[in-house]
Amino acid sequence: MSSQNGTEHPSFYDHRGKYKGIFAWILSTDHKRIGLLYFYSIILFFLTGATIGLLMKLELIAPGKTIVDAQTYNAFFTLHGIIMIFAVVIPGLPAVFGNFFLPIMIGANDVAFPRINLLSWYMYVTGVTLVVISQFTGQGPPDTGWTFYAPYSFRTAGNMIPAVSGAFVLGFSSVLTGLNFITTIHRMRAPGMTWMKMPLFPWSLYATGWVQILATPIIGITLLMVIAERVLHIGFFDPSLGGDPILYQHLFWTYSHPAVYIMILPAMGAISEIISTHSHKAIFGYPFMIASVMAIAFVGYFVWGHHMFTSGMSGTALYTFSLLTFIVAIPSAIKVFNWISTMYKGSIDLQTPFLWAVGFIFVFMIGGFSGLILGSLAANVHLHGTHFVLAHFHFILFGGTGFAFFGAAHYWYPKITGRMYDKVWANLGYLLFFIGFITLYSPMFYLGYKGMPRRYYDYDEIFHGGNILSSMGAMVLYAGIAVIVINLFISLRRGAKAPANPWGGKTLEWSIPSPPPHENFLEQPVIDKEVYDYK
């Protein structure tokens, strides 16, 4: 095996390639550099999206117009949705930590198609640029929400074409990432790494890759149809020309529900790694974790109709989608039980990533259970389109994926940067984040249950109390994000030097120096032990 001493070999930061300066990064095909390019872009867009979110909460702090008018508010939630969904949560874990660690964790020196990998980053940047352009050109920003529902999406004066094209390009980028990961996992595993010796993060990326490939083309073609509809008036989804707007919703959610699993599956994979490492114990029920991740990916295709319970479907379709929605909760529950069983009798090291992982389980369960409430038909009719839905998916998307993203960022920070983050500030940031998160989103359950609709800039006086609480939570959360991000950046210079294996992890990335050398492994690793081989 390679030397454990990190100072002996130049890291990938010091590697001298063909290009110099910034070009050594933006023209690099090294999966680690591409992962970091994604990291910086995603942090930038996440902060943009979070700032817009904060502005929306400030608008909602009192009834009536507070800081923005109705049209601006519509533009805000549209931009917030497009950026957060397509540019932050979907690429978040796979493109950053997947790119950086997938090849290392399976013992490869890069992904299967390094140049396509770089191309996917460029498509990502192009896509976001198009979305940003849509804000400042044409007849005003898009105001349809991130779902681009027909027929409004081709009737509104808002500048839809760049925004929709941007989402299309981002989808293409996602497909290329998925394609790359699947091929890499099939073809590039180190000698001895059989499928059942592969850690759970690569497994979750494998499942995610299939979802990306099988679902994204559908939204691709649907968005192209929306563009064609706007430009050429073809009539696909326009009732006045014989088209069917409900068909748009079906096509849209055929992608966008599986997309939820693109967001959460890698998060589950990263959480599995964190919990196993910090409990110093093999993951409980490893084969079941794999089976459940694949089952979620599979069943996840057949539940899209639960977004459309009130749109008009046959009774049979309603019952079927509702039943399937309940079934998809089973593998998720298996994962939660297995995480908790992994901690049981483990020797737990209460590091910051572990706190994020425990927080993940907590908020993910709240999000998951509220999903079951929404998945039952009768409750859905009452709660559809209210703040309850808003609370539910923020608990899953931001609570689930967001907690996992920051957990993974702290967990792998020593490996990526070669420095330790400041633990006190990191824990303080986590505390603020957690308190802010719960205060921001919990009141929304109540507000939604009481009937406050989503996507309005104004509300009735009776909702005032809950909204004040929620907006205050937003400020605490925002402060927490600031502490976390600033701490991570300051620790780049001030942090203590990180050893190769600060947590006592057993997966391959901990066997190489921190930060990793350009070729990842100085010698080809051969896997002869079981996965998560703790004694």
Partner: protein, 202 residues
């Protein structure tokens, strides 16, 4: 440094990636086939009548053109395996010419429709009823997207031809040609579905 078994491994990897990519392309058109089926079911009579206005002669000619072009590119792989560079160039060149022929036919076909005031957003088409609007809307969108794929495919094959003539593709290393051919077969395959949907089912 690179030994032949590595090249072989890389070729296998590239092919796997290509197949997965082709899968996404099929799903892209799959979405359109769903839309087509839904609207065909709802406007059976109008779709039936509209399809009779299509020129079966041009459609059949284009089908034959694409089938022949698929076989020429398949043969070019055999030619390159036998290191017959000249024959491989002739066969890939033929594929490109057939691709252009397809597009020329399509140009005249679309031109004929346009001259009859049949195009998306045309008011004359709107007067004929919603079924016709949807049929021709789908027709222009799907064959248009397919024609775009033909253009991409032809571009890929032209690039492959320059590789062959420079000797970068040869009997030991022809995965680029093979993957280009796979793409071309996909373009052919999609047309095999489009042809009956718009021309034959009446």
């Amino acid at each position: 440094m690179i030994n032949p078994s590595d090249i072989h491994r890389q070729a296998e990897t590239a092919k796997l990636g290509m197949w997965v990519f082709l899968f996404t392309e099929m799903l892209l058109f799959g979405g359109l086939f769903i839309v087509y089926s839904v609207y065909r079911l709802r406007n059976a009579a109008a779709f039936h009548l509209a399809a009779r206005e299509m020129s079966i002669v041009i459609g059949t000619a284009n089908t034959i053109i694409l089938l022949v072009s698929s076989s020429t590119i398949a043969m070019s792989i055999t030619a390159i395996r036998k290191n017959n560079k000249r024959l491989a160039l002739i066969l890939t060149g033929l594929t490109v010419i057939l691709g252009f022929l397809f597009l020329i036919n399509k140009y005249f076909e679309w031109g004929e429709h346009f001259s009859q005031q049949i195009y998306p957003g045309s008011s004359a088409l709107a007067l004929r009823g919603q079924g016709d609007v949807l049929f021709f809307g789908l027709y222009f969108f799907m064959t248009g997207l397919h024609a775009l794929h033909i253009i991409i495919g032809v571009t890929i094959i032209i690039v492959v031809m320059t590789f062959i003539s420079r000797g970068r593709i040869h009997s030991d290393r022809y995965s680029v040609l093979e993957n280009g051919a796979l793409y071309w077969h996909l373009v052919d395959l999609i047309w095999i579905f489009l042809f009956p949907l718009f021309y034959l089912i009446t």
